[in-house]
């Protein structure tokens, strides 16, 4: 099994390489360079040229690419044009926020989707099933930002139980329990919004799995042995359907990255998605490049994770 993992990992390397090359070429098309932010009315253009030469901006592109990659691998993505601090620092603080949001969202997705999917499959064609299916259709069709806006409106303004923006209350002191509580309070609504939208695939899949499993021989055998139907569902059907769902984690993570752009923007949550939007607006190209590279890498990682879990879970997919 480790051979599959290793092989997938090795395949990922050229993909990353091409991705970084593409991003680098894209970045070169963007107007501006690190020194445009330093130009004031008093600067001497010749001096700026000198700085550019020293920083290697006039070198041929492959040398620049090589420098960029080697720096990036060491964690140095250059300086932000707007904030004048290292890019890694800016991304670092936001990344943790996005990480917590993602963690909670994935947890909620499974918490909501698994019971709903199993219930829908078990009581097929009942009112419960029909309403769950209706819910999954609506959550599939509704665009992320519309639902997010509706929630901010409903739960932030009309019935003010959730805060409307930010990660943490301004008055909270870091390190105290109040700070932690305030953070959780701010994270809940975005996570719930995301979770409600991401459940579709799992619910549909679990539901059809349970429906199929009801006609299987092993279920009939278990019933004929006298096992109560509830136990059949929880011990047998549930476990068999659960394994492939774990492989969905990779796709959920990928979907999270894209969704985070919308959700964090609407909720004013200071994560990587919101950073991306604000850096695009302020034309902060070094941050943009680093973020796109990071997101691409995480997407690849998500796919790799899915494949690994699939191969652990399903022996048929393992190394042939």
């Amino acid at each position: 099994m480790w051979k599959t993992v290793l092989r997938r990992f090795l395949v990922m390397i050229p993909q990353l390489f091409i991705l970084s090359l593409l991003i680098f070429i894209m970045a070169k098309q963007m107007p501006g360079d690190p020194f445009t932010g330093l130009i004031t009315p008093e600067t001497d253009p010749a001096r700026i040229e000198e700085l550019r030469e020293m920083a290697g901006l006039n070198d041929p592109w492959y040398i620049q690419y090589y420098n960029w990659i080697t720096n990036a691998l060491q964690g140095d993505f250059g300086k932000s044009y707007v904030f004048k601090v290292p890019v890694a620092e800016i991304i670092g603080e936001r990344a943790l926020n996005t990480f917590w949001l993602s963690l909670l969202s994935v947890f909620l997705v499974y918490l909501i989707a698994i019971p709903l999917g199993v219930l829908a499959g078990r009581y097929q064609n009942s009112l419960l099933d029909k309403s769950i299916v209706l819910y999954s259709y609506i959550s599939y069709a509704i665009p992320t930002f519309v639902l997010a806006l509706v929630f901010v409106f409903a739960f932030g303004f009309s019935i003010p139980i959730f805060p409307t923006s930010g990660t943490v209350d301004v008055n909270a002191v870091p390190g105290t329990f109040g700070y932690f509580l305030s953070k959780v309070y701010h994270i809940l609504l975005p996570a719930i919004t995301y979770a409600l939208l991401g459940t579709t695939a799992i619910i549909q899949y679990l539901r059809s799995e349970v429906i199929d499993a009801q006609t299987q021989d092993y279920v009939r055998t278990a019933r004929s042995k006298g096992i109560p139907i509830k136990k059949v569902y929880t011990k047998h059907i549930f476990r068999n359907s659960l394994l492939p769902i774990a492989a969905f984690i990779g796709f959920t993570i990928t979907g999270l990255l894209v969704g985070s752009i919308f959700i964090e923007t609407v909720f004013g949550y200071h994560g990587m998605g919101q950073l991306f939007i604000s850096s695009i607006t302020s034309r902060d190209y070094s941050v943009i490049t680093a973020l796109v590279l990071l997101f691409g890498f995480l997407t690849l990682l998500g796919g790799l994770l899915s494949d690994i879990i699939m191969s652990i879970v399903d022996p048929r997919i393992r190394i042939e």
């Binding site: 098309q29 665009p143 901010v152 409106f153 939007i277 691409g296």
Partner: protein, 305 residues
Amino acid sequence: MEQQTELAIMPENNNSSSPPTGMQVIFREFKKDKLAIGSLIFLITLFVSIFLSSYLLVDQDEVMKVTLSSIYAEPGEQGFILGADHAGRDVLGQLLIGARNSFEIAIAITVITAIIGIAIGLITGYFGGFIDNFFMRIIDFFMTLPTLMIIIVFVTIVPKYNEWTFVLILSLFYWVGTARLIRSKALTESRRDYINASKTMGTSNIVIIFREIMPNISSLIIVELTLSFAGNIGIETGLSFLGFGLPPDTPSLGTLVAYAMNPIVLSSKWWIWVPASLLILVVMLAINYVGQALRRSADAKQRLG
């Protein structure tokens, strides 16, 4: 007894002498699913009324003129049926024109991605071998890209930006989904006997692809087109919402919803963003219902009728 068995084998009132044609199957499927019929009728009336009214009744320049005296007019005031936004512009007019723009762009993207995706999918699925490997590498690579982000970056870099560059940029990235789907179906179809028979008869490859394989996967194509259309509406409005869609002076559903990012608008000036959000939601739901009905009519195991 013998007569009974004879009757059982050869029923007299056998009207259906041939299996139902594609359209009949689709019809029957829709009849069983009231939601799908309702959605279809709703969509058709909506599209027709939006296209007619936006071209005949509403003048874009009139709507987009900033009128300071009517800022934030409520619905019903000063003749604005749906009120006015922060620049005094009629919301209903923007809604109609914006909906028309969104639909036009989504249709354009769907058509372009369909043409490219189907062509590439069919060719790679049919020929296999080196061509298949080559395109699969490309498709796999595209799947790993953070598409939305790269689109946003492209949108900011491209110099001469208008609706058509937007459509082209989106089509550039979204043809891979269609191509992948069509390719897998074309692969299985190409291994069938009737294709081998055609090849033995000497039919040219192009004729085989477009006159034999494509009609057989037409049900898949129709379902894919419908769902892709819904997806494209969502993407276009999402990008406009973020500010990276249509140019700022063109009304669009996404820009209307984007006004809700302002807390004042969100909490008290609901008429600006609620109609647009509702419209997006309802249209996407309707298209999804129709698409599901179409998908069920394509797969005999899932049919209701």
